[in-house]
């Protein structure tokens, strides 16, 4: 009899425990996890900054946990393509502007227009018009702009002085630059300019200013044919190649040098200048703190031949169409590209923003010796053609530059071959 009575408290306890566990698991289910992937997570300076940023986000949105997924800069498109095709891409991804058309075409970037409309009229007014154009596909917004910078010359002022150059009156023409580069070169030891010549996404950012300032272009205005057969394009191509082959003002091994190799050369005083942007000084400082990069380095606008121009670096944030948490992913993208965070990214990493209310007015940027030069060049900034064939075109073009740099072909022949190949690629588009 006694045993029968003692069952009730046990049953009641079990019911209570079950209810408690159910309540706890329901609470846990409310907290969603977002997968956030960015190549910057592999870089020391950026990693710290992003980790802090995500901590702020999680504090403001206690129902969202951010799981970070680093990816290498070169492999990001590969990873995102495979994962998107399998329907398992990270919820939020960071991309180059030039990768966007391919991702739009394949349907790997969610249409963000409805989210933006819900934010109210004028939400996008805070951004510069050019980056907003680049994140649109068939009139719909598929990405949010991120870093927005121009390419400039970053030089070691100590080496400039050694070469007898007045740091306040740096050459403004390519002719003047060549004279300077020759003076700054000591064969076998030190060179005037670091050259990126490897097949790397960073190549076009560093070559395009040559082409554009000489008055040339890659493609015709209607984007249907190669424009590399113009005298301006030939002149720019020959000038770039001869810096290495004829004047020898760049270190040997340019065809295998990627941007990080060149920054390493700058950090160790092997070169006087390189074409870089806001990210250059922090990375060089990390590579060689003894150089005191923030003091010694200085940014200059790129020299000009016919017209002032430079390449624009734009990164952007996309949301995977396969995300199970679109609203939360949008909150994260909105947070990353907010004025507050864009200022933080600048303060920590020296990258200027695609937001006008940051790059155009923030005293931190206007008073920074690198950022003010980079921001001042924005009106002259130009982007590569936004077509899905661009990576293939750039590969053909980089190959031609390499053939000329290694003297496998004369510059004119290499360029003519690239012109023909690019027309073949574009013919498929037609």
């Amino acid at each position: 009899m006694q045993r029968r009575h003692s069952l009730w408290p046990m049953v009641l306890t079990m019911i209570c425990v079950t209810v408690l566990i159910a309540a706890m698991s329901a609470g846990a289910q409310e907290r969603v996890t977002l997968r956030f992937s960015d190549w910057h997570l592999t870089e020391d300076v950026w990693n710290k900054s992003l980790t802090e940023g995500m901590a702020i986000f999680e504090k403001r949105y206690p129902n969202i946990k951010v799981q970070v997924e680093p990816v290498s800069y070169r492999e990001k498109e590969t990873k995102y393509t495979v994962e998107s095709a399998a329907g398992r891409a990270p919820d939020v991804m960071h991309l180059h502007a030039f990768s966007l058309p391919s991702f739009y075409e394949k349907g790997y970037a969610m249409d963000l227009t409805s989210f933006i409309e819900k934010e109210g009229k004028g939400f996008l007014d805070a951004w510069y018009p050019l980056p907003l154009e680049l994140v649109k596909h068939r009139g719909r917004v598929h990405a949010m702009p991120g870093d927005y910078m121009t390419m400039v010359l970053v030089c070691n002022t100590d080496l400039l002085k050694q070469a007898g150059t007045d740091v306040e009156r740096f050459p403004t023409t390519w002719g003047g630059f060549l004279d300077f580069a020759k003076k700054a070169t000591t064969p076998g030891q030190q060179w005037g300019l670091g050259m990126v010549g490897a097949k790397d996404p960073g190549f076009s950012l560093r070559f395009s200013p040559f082409l554009w300032t000489f008055g040339g272009d890659y493609l015709t205005a209607d984007l249907k044919r190669s424009a590399l057969d113009t005298p301006e394009a030939r002149e720019a191509f020959a000038y770039f190649v001869e810096l290495s082959t004829k004047h020898k003002v760049v270190p040997p091994g340019a065809t295998s040098a990627n941007p990080q190799d060149v920054r390493t050369q700058l950090a160790h005083k092997k070169i006087a200048c390189e074409i870089g942007s806001g990210w250059t000084a922090p990375i060089v400082n990390k590579l060689n703190p003894d150089l005191k990069a923030f003091d010694v380095l200085r940014a200059y606008p790129l020299p000009v031949k016919k017209k002032r121009a430079t390449a624009i670096w734009l990164s952007s944030w996309i949301i995977s169409p396969n995300t199970k948490h679109p609203q939360e992913a949008w909150e994260l993208v909105k947070f990353i590209s907010s004025k507050e965070m864009e200022l933080k990214w600048f303060q920590d990493n020296r990258v200027t923003s695609a937001r006008k209310d940051v790059s155009g007015v923030a005293p931190e940027i206007l008073n920074d010796k690198f950022a003010k030069v980079i921001a001042a060049e924005l009106p002259y900034g130009k982007v590569e053609p936004q077509i899905k064939e661009w990576p293939e075109i750039m590969d053909a073009f980089t190959g031609a530059v390499q053939e000329a740099l290694t003297e496998a072909k004369p510059p004119d022949k290499a360029l003519a071959d690239a012109h023909a190949r690019i027309n073949t690629i574009l013919a498929r588009r037609r």
Partner: protein, 287 residues
């Protein structure tokens, strides 16, 4: 009796079934998917041989095909030469033989991407170790741009690949050497055969099967070689080191031409099948 045998065969098939299903899932399905993709026009839908026609005209594909042949031919030949030499040396009764074998295996243990990065550093014309050593030895008058120039890049890649790949052949041949009965060498020595004759008439025939196995497997591995080249040159300068694997990768992941990349991959798979035929035949005969 016949029923028992049939039952036994059926049980055998049942044991093989999980492995077979797994193979179909991880190899059969992707292969079939690639094959069907290769016949699909880029505009989507339908059936087309267009990609295969384009392959016939694509000079970059031809260059990659030629480069693959050179890379595979020279690498496999060097793997065999170096692998056999090291295997013969490690088969001698040396002191510290296990340690030496371990050291000889090390390059094989390193992932090929890492090998590519290491060799890219070694080849660096500004501060690479290779130039430094050769300059100090007086073998070079000025630093060489190993990954630049017209002929050097492919040779440099092959050199790195030889270092990375010879232990695979070496370990197979070493196993073969150890299986040759000692008595044969002793008998040959008594008959007055010199070292070269013993190698020609005992070692080489004794290693015949192992040589075919290593040749076939190494060739298949080398046709698929990707990480090392991607890490060192990405197929450049120009297309001097472009091979089929890097080109397929590029077409698929950089240019997003999934269908055309699939056609390339199908051709590559066909070539690999042809290359591995002698090995498959040998195994079938043994069975």
């Amino acid at each position: 009796m016949a029923t028992a045998r049939a039952k036994s065969v059926r049980t055998g098939y049942l044991f093989v079934l999980p492995a077979l299903l797994l193979l179909l899932a991880v190899l059969g399905f992707p292969a079939l998917f690639s094959l069907t993709l290769s016949f699909r026009p880029e505009s989507g839908g339908g059936f087309s041989l267009e990609h295969y026609r384009l392959l016939l005209e694509d000079t970059l594909f031809h260059q990659a095909f030629w480069n693959t042949g050179l890379l595979v031919g020279l690498s496999v030949a060097a793997h065999l030469g170096v692998g056999l030499a090291v295997a013969l040396a490690l088969n001698l009764p040396l002191r510290g033989q296990p340690a030496l074998r371990l050291v000889a295996l090390l390059p094989w243990v390193v992932p090929d991407v890492v090998t590519g990065i290491i060799w890219k550093w070694l080849y660096n014309p500004l501060n690479g170790a290779l130039n430094d050593i050769l300059l100090r030895l007086g073998l070079l008058a000025a630093p060489l741009d190993w990954l630049g120039g017209r002929y050097l890049p492919l040779i440099s890649v092959i050199l790195a690949n030889v270092w990375r790949g010879f232990p695979f052949v070496m370990i197979i041949l070493l196993a073969g050497l150890q299986a040759i009965p000692r008595e044969r060498y002793e008998a040959a020595s008594i008959d007055g055969a010199n070292a070269l004759q013993r190698f020609r008439y005992i070692t080489l025939p004794g290693l015949r099967k192992m040589l075919i196995v290593s040749l076939a497997l190494d060739t298949v591995w080398e046709v698929r070689r990707f990480g090392l080249i991607q890490a060192m040159t990405q197929g450049g300068p120009g297309s001097l080191t472009e091979v089929l694997s890097t080109l397929v990768y590029k077409q698929y992941f950089a240019f997003f031409r999934f269908e055309y990349a699939s056609a390339m991959a199908v051709v590559m798979a066909g070539v690999l099948l042809l290359v591995s035929l002698p090995y498959i035949r040998m195994i079938s005969r043994e069975e």
